[in-house]
Symmetry: C2
Subunit: 171 residues, 2 copies
Amino acid sequence: METWDAIRARRNVRGYSHDRIAREDLERILQAGWRAPSSMNWQPWHFVVVTDPEVLEALSTTGPGTGHVATSAATVAMVAYHPEDDVHARWLQYDFGQATASMMVTAADLGIGSGHASVRDQHEVRTVLSLPDDTVCPYMVAFGYPAGRPLRPVEHPDRRPFQEVVHWGSW
Amino acid sequence: METWDAIRARRNVRGYSHDRIAREDLERILQAGWRAPSSMNWQPWHFVVVTDPEVLEALSTTGPGTGHVATSAATVAMVAYHPEDDVHARWLQYDFGQATASMMVTAADLGIGSGHASVRDQHEVRTVLSLPDDTVCPYMVAFGYPAGRPLRPVEHPDRRPFQEVVHWGSW
């Protein structure tokens, strides 16, 4: 798919069909995250990929907005070692965001929907995924083919007016 | 360009040619940011677009790694109102990261390079861009056609081994 079509086709998908994601496609999505830019190229991330329905079910109760993970075809848990200070804590958030968007656009290109999830229960996610004690897993990204309408460029996304968001020259 | 080519062609570009970016292309890059996902779709961002060489020069001294902004064709300053608490502060970082990657991939699709910059001097950036006092501008993204080799898919990016980053099933 053309890049601009993929950028416009990506939308928040939380209802998934029963179709599996081919290993090759999943690898490509992960490669997009692996290739994502990060502050000083520190690449703080580990991506834990889950496709086992029982584990997905367990992950789906780790936060208030994680229910859709249960029926995803695959979910990527974003993990890093606990940041050493506030600066690195901010970088970590920003860089997880960069990896997330890179993976989501790559998924959209393949017709695969994605939905973000914030993890609240850190102890639980560490237990479910056997993560080391000194790691954090603030986010998961769920992937799957949409249960409803397939991905197509969205003409009028639900966004604040463009003119209100973009300032030319100065505020 | 195909999405997967754009994802692989994006690289950190800090040396720019003298070519301007067409208004239409700049608008598309900004639309990608405007369309980016954000936590609960809160869209905390304002994007201030700078193309005036004098203003770019002024922005280029707001941080230790912002020098490349001076010679960019356009730089987008990412601005938001001061987050109300720690949760929103984290969301802001993550969502700026999502918008950043969306803009960078869209730029790469157009052959336009991009380079991230962290802003350290908040007072200075507010002064230069006439930002309201209760805003923050943690990041800028500089854009321009590469001075050197054009963007092409990078076969072997400088990254940690893929097998070390990606964990299948559990840690």
